[in-house]
């Protein structure tokens, strides 16, 4: 049986269908989780998709943080459950304090929708396990508030702890600069495109792997991240059911 992965739908989510499609391509059974439900239906992992949850009013992600489904997701996270936030989903996780840092208005103020390149900084995580050797992955961004921020001490701690998962890179794979480098589209500090929490079970990134999950979309570089997540969720689900011992 394929592993069940939840996809949260807030009012204003707009990447949920792309995400369920990406999950199906990666061999998972997607389960849609409406924002008003507190029941995660026993899923082995949860993805918070992109969009404009609750209209992004006040600050992107903050109102979504107080929805019933997010209370269950916070408990799921505390219990070691696997959670990935993409774009607006990353903003929701950051607002909820489930991943470190905050996403500020893009340095250039404009909403940006275009392809970027990111490099996997940590290949041995639940979110990147199949990504293989470091190479630029091409996938789109589509956000107005994606400038990653944390104070210097926190950034140093994140780096030391291997919590920086993805960075914006140039075409040749070199890490983009903080300011005035088109390869770092939103001006994120230290070109950070994605981070994980200290326990390693919750992560977020601004670029959209699900929008780059088949060749017909222009790139299938994102599929490896979705497949990594699905495989990790499957391993977690198996560990939850140690009773399935084959008869000998």
């Amino acid at each position: 049986m394929s592993v069940h992965v939840g996809v949260v739908i807030f009012p204003g989510s707009n990447c949920d269908r792309d995400t369920t499609r990406g999950l199906a391509l990666a061999g998972a059974e997607p389960v849609e989780l409406w924002h008003e439900t507190a029941d995660l239906q026993g899923v082995a992992g949860v993805i918070l998709p992109g969009g404009f949850a609750y209209g992004d009013y006040v600050r992107a992600g903050v109102i979504a943080r107080f929805s019933p489904v997010m209370r269950s997701i916070a408990a799921f996270a505390a219990d070691g459950g696997l959670i990935l936030g993409v774009c607006n989903g990353f903003q929701v996780l950051a607002e909820a304090g489930l991943v470190p840092g905050a996403l500020l208005r893009n340095r250039g103020l404009r909403f940006l929708g275009r392809d970027v390149r990111i490099a996997v900084e940590q290949p041995d995580t639940a979110f990147t396990r199949l990504a293989g050797p470091r190479r630029p992955l091409r996938m789109p961004i589509a956000h107005g508030e994606g400038c990653y921020f944390a104070d210097e001490a926190t950034l140093d701690a994140l780096e030391a702890d291997g919590q920086v998962l993805f960075r914006y890179v140039r075409e040749d794979g070199s890490v983009a600069g903080d300011v005035d480098d088109p390869a770092n589209p939103n001006g994120s500090l230290r070109a950070i495109a994605g981070v994980r929490n200290a326990d390693g079970n919750v992560a977020g990134l601004m670029p959209h792997p699900e929008r780059a999950s088949e060749a017909i979309l222009g790139s299938d570089d994102g599929l490896v991240l979705i497949r990594s997540f699905v495989e990790s969720a499957a391993l977690a689900a198996r560990a939850e059911r140690p009773i399935e011992v084959p008869a000998t």
């Binding site: 905050a102 340095r107 250039g108 103020l109 400038c147 921020f149």
Partner: protein, 100 residues
């Protein structure tokens, strides 16, 4: 006795936090023929009314929602200001008396 308190919450980017909106405003001032203006920071003002027994109790409510919802403590500071207090027993309200 319950009263109504009208507050304003002013949310501003913390010192040192990049504020591209503030920078954009600053950048446009030249077009207006204005110079000598610097350190523009763009924030948000939220006004709301709280029903509570007294101002201290009302402030506790505002403080909580300002800290949890209206601002992100990592990047923003907030200040609470009382705009108007109105007693629900209309005849005792100095503010309403003044309006009459």
């Amino acid at each position: 006795m319950s009263s109504e308190f009208r507050f304003a919450v002013n949310v501003t980017p913390k010192p040192g936090i990049l504020d591209p909106q503030g920078r954009a405003v600053e950048g446009s001032l030249g077009h207006l023929g204005i110079d000598g203006v610097s350190a523009v920071r763009v924030g948000r003002r939220v006004e709301l009314t709280v029903a509570a027994d007294d101002e201290a109790a009302a402030r506790l409510v505002v403080d909580r929602l300002a800290g949890e919802l209206l601002s992100n403590p990592l990047i923003e500071a907030y200040a609470i200001e009382l705009v108007q207090a109105t007693s629900s027993t209309t005849s005792t309200s100095p503010v309403e008396a003044e309006v009459r």
